[in-house]
């Protein structure tokens, strides 16, 4: 994934810093609580929500099981419709393909509609290294890009910023990238949106190359689909002469009709709307309407590793709605940056370690970035059992010798509990040496740094019971 995250501290350390930021905590709490309440209402409108959820799960499971067949069909359909399909085994290859396609147009600027896949591959940085400037055009992505920041939420990447912070970023930075923000810009959201409209319109009107992701790709017809709200997506998809879409292979669905399920579940789960303001579909190229050339880059980048994991592969069902982030008590306090990846929150905690492996400290810590409360599973519109995958990945991390102290402590506890006399003796010794105990569990590492020990009671429970109840 993106080089942006190299050197990121493991989740517990990053989260500890984040929870001390009162502004961040306030922004996150406001946002997640607002949206989770609205989502519950939007979902309650559909009496067949459970059936839609089942169908979504089944469509995705079926596609994943036969992904080779559907990818080949997709390639044929896109090609027949006038598009060109490229295959990228990893981030580096995807970036190389895209940079080559942009260079072939002779352009040094591209406009982008928000795309998780290109964030994952670090495309903007890779293009910059080739002298190509990529402009993010989603309002939140613009805020993040101008602020030299990283996205902290899948749906609302600038959720960690409040309006005053955004006004300051626009006033200070917009001028360096194009049309400057008015110096008397207020922090009213409508004024901020207007400043973004004027700033970006310059870029849309002259753009020759657009880069997008896609929410779905229909194998049967070769149709790609983008869900959005602002119209920046439509601008990027229809005004440029060349359109390049970088899409993870797991975004494939078999048939046009399958879309009817996700058109109902995705907007309600993500923005809590009956439907997002704009959805665009395109099948190859259309004469006289939209880009004259269309390239689809199919991205693996670890997805086939996740697919090979019997328990973990369900994470590939994800349709990136972000409902799991908004209900997660851990995300709500730690924020998205702590996860050290473009996929934060519960889905990030299971997706990232599968895409990147669990060899780095941050990736090994992610399966532990959860209280296992299960709220994420409840809201997931494709029924990904996130807690199940978290536990599965913890086993994996533990088996590679991950948390040695934790394992040693568990072994000692098992021994003590098997020997009641030893346990009683241990409890009495612990009570009598209270003053000598540290406030934190001893030992190095992320696990112990962020946890306090509970106070020891003055007398062991067994002694208290003997005195008072027998």
């Amino acid at each position: 994934m993106s080089g942006t995250f190299i050197g990121m501290p493991a989740f517990p350390r990053a989260a500890r810093a984040a929870v001390h930021d009162a502004t961040l905590r306030g922004n996150l709490r406001h946002a997640t609580h607002t949206i989770r309440g609205k989502r519950a209402q939007a979902v309650a409108e559909l009496a067949d929500w459970q059936q839609l959820r089942d169908a979504g799960k089944q469509i995705k499971d079926h596609t994943l099981r036969h992904l080779d067949r559907y990818l080949e069909q997709l390639e044929r359909s896109v090609t027949a419709a006038g598009g060109t399909v490229h295959w990228a085994a990893d981030a580096e290859e995807a970036n190389r393909i895209v940079a080559g396609l942009v260079k072939a147009t002779g352009e040094s600027e591209v406009v982008k509609v928000k795309s998780m896949a290109t964030q994952e591959t670090g495309l903007n940085e890779a293009l910059a290294a080739e002298g190509i400037h990529a402009y993010e055009t989603d309002l939140a992505e613009l805020i993040v890009q101008l602020g030299d920041d990283r996205p902290s939420h899948i749906l609302v990447p600038a959720i960690h910023r409040n309006r005053a912070e955004i006004r300051d970023i626009f006033r200070e930075r917009m001028g360096r990238w194009g049309r400057a923000a008015p110096q008397d810009l207020t922090d009213e959201p409508a004024d901020l949106a207007e400043a973004a409209r004027l700033h970006l319109r310059e870029k849309f009107l002259r753009a020759k190359v657009g880069i997008s992701g896609a929410n779905f790709m229909v194998a049967e017809t070769g149709t790609l689909v983008v869900f959005e709200s602002e119209g920046n997506g439509r601008m990027c998809l229809t005004l440029p002469e060349t359109l390049i879409s970088v899409v993870g292979i797991e975004k494939t669905i078999p048939t046009w009709r399958d879309l009817e399920v996700f058109l109902q579940t995705l907007p309600r789960s993500s923005t809590a709307e009956r439907m997002n303001p704009y959805t665009s579909t395109w099948t190859g190229t259309t004469d006289g309407d939209g880009p004259r050339s269309f390239h689809l880059v199919l991205l693996d980048n670890g997805r086939t590793d996740a697919l090979a994991d019997d328990v973990g592969r369900q994470a590939l069902r994800c349709i990136r709605c972000s409902a799991c982030l908004n209900v997660c008590p851990v995300y709500e306090r730690a924020g998205g940056h702590a996860y050290g990846s473009v996929y934060p929150g519960p889905i990030g905690a299971i997706l990232t370690p599968q895409l990147r492996g669990t060899t780095s400290e941050i990736d090994a810590s992610l399966p532990y970035a959860s209280s296992l409360c299960g709220a994420c599973y409840e809201v997931c519109p494709v029924a990904i059992d996130i807690p199940e995958v978290l536990v599965h990945l913890r086993e994996k991390v533990a088996s590679q010798g991950g948390h040695l102290w934790e394992k040693a402590a568990m072994k000692a506890a098992a021994l003590a509990m098997d020997h009641p006399a030893a346990m009683a003796a241990g409890e009495r010794i612990a009570s009598r040496t209270r003053a000598l105990h540290p406030k934190r569990p001893p030992g190095a590492g992320a696990w112990t740094d962020s946890r306090d020990l509970p106070d020891l009671p003055a007398e062991p429970f067994r002694d208290w019971w003997k005195k008072n109840r027998t």
Binding site: N232, T238, Q264
Partner: protein
């Protein structure tokens, strides 16, 4: 080995021996709304308005004056029309320059136009959505995007469906489709909804009865 072959081989190896995943059961509803056309129309009206589209109901005889009035209310000096738009729709519109969309029109030229008027492929009541398929009287996707004001005419009842599943069967995926639910909007700043970031800030939907 090409990346294509490598990825496909990895996919095959990954699912080798995995249990079969049957085709999906579609036990979800085809519609959430009673089949009464009047109720469906009311629902469409309500849901369009709920997402801040401005909804007008009229009969064929009154369409031209309504369109003229909507353009006048915006002080529109120019209105863009796609090929195939019935002339009668603009019969009462005076002192407004009518600009016919052509393939050669640049984005900057579209940006200079005040309003655009189109028909649609269909409208979905349960979600308050109009769908354009670049067909007759709709034009290219960009013309309903760049100008700041869009008037969209929906023929009632033949272009109205109750639900998303009902819409899918009537749409041709080979055409470029644009689904529009209310005007352009963003909630990216503290989740406060603001209309009109990049697309038209004002969407007038005319529900046109025979």
């Amino acid at each position: 080995m090409s990346s294509r072959d490598r990825i496909l081989a990895r996919v095959r190896a990954a699912v080798d021996g995995a249990p079969a995943a049957p085709a999906p059961t579609r036990s979800y509803l085809n519609s959430h709304t009673p089949g009464d056309p009047a109720a469906v129309l009311d629902l469409l009206h309500h849901n369009l308005a709920d997402y801040r589209a401005r909804v007008h109901r009229t009969a064929a005889a009154c369409l031209a004056p309504l369109v003229a009035q909507l353009l006048a209310a915006r002080n529109a000096r120019s209105v863009l029309v796609p090929a195939g738009l019935p002339d009668t729709w603009l019969a009462d519109t005076h002192r407004v320059r009518v600009v016919e969309d052509t393939e050669g029109a640049t984005a900057a030229q579209l940006d200079a136009v005040d309003s655009v008027i189109t028909g649609c492929a269909l409208a979905i009541a349960e979600t308050g959505t109009i769908v354009l398929d670049a067909g007759t009287a709709q034009g290219r996707r960009r013309i309903t995007l760049v100008p700041d004001h869009h008037i969209c005419v929906v023929r009632v009842p033949d272009q109205v469906v109750a639900s998303v599943p009902q819409a899918m069967g009537r749409l041709d995926p080979g055409r470029p489709l644009t689904w529009i639910s209310g005007p352009s909007a963003t909630s990216d700043i503290e989740l406060d909804r603001v209309e009109g970031v990049h697309g038209p800030r004002t969407l007038d939907v005319v529900l046109l009865s025979p």
